[in-house]
């Protein structure tokens, strides 16, 4: 149904997370180094959501924070790390020592996971691939058991193939450059498997650097990565991906990552970090004030703009 296509769905982050992220949900986090939805994840942590299954193509400290904060029961990803590159400490503590509690993992390669999202978004029964085979990613499954993958012979060629069934999600969160109030969201830059990941979700929260007039969307519909009719809420959240980046809007805050590494090596360090940077902060505005204008200004960078293209105006024959 298209009821959501025509609705102004702009809400604040607090309300979006309250209404659309529920304890026990399977939550897809969009982004691929670019566009990680940090603002939304911090709000999830502040609201103390529980028992989440976090699914994301490339888990960075975003996932680490969700694990260390005790929101997370399960993780589906191709990896979890701190892209210094170094370890994600809360993730390590959870796996190695069940701190703050045990978590379950389901691990894929990035391409296999991309196919699972693709199958999820299109509701395909499965996709056959030549990746993954021979690896322990194929041999060992976690909570998905024998629904993770299946090694079979191709009925066409007899060759051995790996079947990837769909992954679907209760709710997905994406941060984009721009969206209209109805949630027609536009993204450019590296996508990873975001387009299919986000459309494998029953509910979608669009976080956008800027809410634009719908006319902007209509003038370049090729950039729309999520159609508004699938979107539950639109949150205008500038800098919503910091310390990750949004192409053309702000740079990756690379110094944040070693800082996070140093800060979170101990449980106490992690807890203090979460207190200082998430729990004791009301919203993204306060967060940005804490980061400080000097740092933010440095991340703004300079412009390199595309040339307009013509779609034409067709009103007569």
């Amino acid at each position: 149904m298209s009821e959501l296509a025509f609705k102004d769905k702009v809400v604040g982050m607090k309300q979006a997370v309250e209404e659309y992220v529920h304890d026990g949900d399977t939550v897809y986090l969009a982004g691929f180094i670019q566009g990680e939805p940090f603002a939304a994840v911090h709000e999830i942590i502040r609201q103390g959501k529980k028992d989440l299954t976090i699914s994301t193509a490339a888990g960075t400290i975003l996932v680490d924070q969700l694990i260390g904060s005790g929101c997370t029961k399960r993780v589906i990803s191709s990896y979890v790390w701190n892209p210094v590159p170094t370890s994600a400490h809360a993730f390590r503590r959870a796996i190695e020592q069940d701190i703050p509690h045990h978590i379950e993992l389901e691990e894929y390669s990035l391409f296999a996971l991309s196919l699972a999202y693709f199958a999820g978004a299109l509701d395909l029964p499965y996709v056959a691939t030549k990746t993954l085979m021979g690896s322990d990613l194929a041999k060992r499954s976690g909570f998905l058991g024998d629904k993770k993958i299946s090694i079979q012979q191709s009925p066409f060629t007899g060759e051995t193939v790996c079947l990837i069934p769909p992954l679907k999600h209760d709710v997905g969160i994406i941060q984009v450059q721009r969206s209209d109030a109805q949630g027609n969201a536009q993204l450019w830059g590296v996508e990873g498997p975001t387009k299919y990941g986000i459309q494998s979700c029953s509910r979608i929260i669009v976080c956008t650097e800027e809410i634009v007039e719908q006319e902007i969307v209509r003038r370049d519909p090729a950039r729309t990565i999520v159609p508004g009719f699938k979107v539950s809420a639109v949150v205008e959240e500038p800098w919503g991906s910091h310390p990750s980046y949004v192409q053309g809007i702000y740079d990756r805050d690379w110094k944040y990552f070693p800082f996070y590494d140093e800060s979170t090596k101990t449980i106490e360090g992690f807890n203090n970090f979460v207190k200082d940077w998430i729990m004791d902060i009301r919203d993204r505005k306060e967060y940005l004030a804490k980061v400080g204008d000097e740092r933010l200004n440095k991340l703004r960078g300079s412009s390199l703009t595309s040339n307009p293209v013509d779609y034409g105006h067709y009103d007569v024959f």
Binding site: E3, D123, Q199, R218, P221
Partner: protein
């Protein structure tokens, strides 16, 4: 053009089809009559329906002229999303989110199977037709398939020569047994005589309603099998003035379809 009560059977067919679309429906639109029915619904009682094209377009607004084919450039400019088949046939239709699909047909049989491929044997047909395009996908996957065709007895054989687009196959549970998803398939066949639906158990087509002035017996004689008729067969409300005016003046003001102007070379 007059806007009194006179209307053609084709106009009635288009209007009766448009009425099957609910406001808020996500509608896949096939070429030919479906274009008119989809756009008419949007301009009358279903303004918040979305029009979706198999080639990759999602559109919430009326185009500025009538598209002669669904992927006409006027359908792309000003759309909300313009991408590829995976955006629409994939992430909407195959994903089970197509509320309605509008199809035209050459022949339709007792169980709503559509043939747009051939008359006679497939390997050596008497008449070769166009084939499926996205029609087979619409028929396999949409929740409510609406089939439009001008009524001739030869277009309603008991069994089509070739199933281009699956309806209920051999009826009963044969559609699901073939592997198609539950809660999909033909909802109505709308012709120039009336509107047909399908029995919930047998999935056999029956006459649910006919147009004013059309005799049930005439309909029965225009079918290639012994047609069942609803015990409460209805008479379809004739076009309202608004429906007719919108169809003629807003949807197809140049008469491209309604007056065959598109065939003038």
């Amino acid at each position: 053009m007059n806007h009194n009560n006179e209307y053609t059977a084709v106009e009635m067919m288009i209007i009766a089809t448009a009425r099957e679309i609910q406001d808020g429906d996500i509608v896949f639109v096939g070429t030919y009559w479906p274009i008119l029915a989809g756009l008419l619904a949007k301009r009358t009682h279903a303004p918040t329906s979305l029009i979706v094209l198999e080639g990759g377009v999602i559109r919430d607004s009326n185009p500025e002229r009538i598209p002669l084919v669904v992927s006409d450039p006027c359908m792309i400019s000003g759309s909300l999303l313009c991408g590829d088949c995976f955006d629409t046939l994939g992430m909407i239709l195959h994903a089970g989110q197509a509320d309605a699909a509008l199809l035209s047909a050459t022949t339709v049989d007792k169980y709503g199977n559509i043939n747009t491929t051939c008359v006679g044997d497939y390997s050596k047909p008497k008449t070769r037709l166009s084939g499926s395009g996205g029609a087979c996908d619409f028929g396999c996957l949409a929740n409510k398939v609406l089939i439009m065709l001008e009524h001739h007895k030869r277009r309603f054989p008991e069994r089509v020569d070739y199933v281009t687009t699956p309806g209920y196959l051999e009826g009963f549970d044969s559609r699901e047994k073939a592997g198609l998803k539950p809660n999909t398939g033909p909802s109505a066949v709308i012709t120039t005589l009336g509107l047909f639906r399908f029995e919930s158990d047998s999935k056999e087509m029956y006459l649910d309603a006919h147009y004013p002035g059309i005799d049930v017996q005439k309909v029965k004689e225009s079918m290639g099998w012994e047609l069942k008729v609803s015990p409460e067969v209805k008479i379809i409300t004739p076009p309202t003035e608004k429906e007719l005016r919108t169809l003629r003046e807003d949807v197809d003001p140049d008469g491209m379809f309604l007056r065959d102007a598109r065939t003038v070379s």
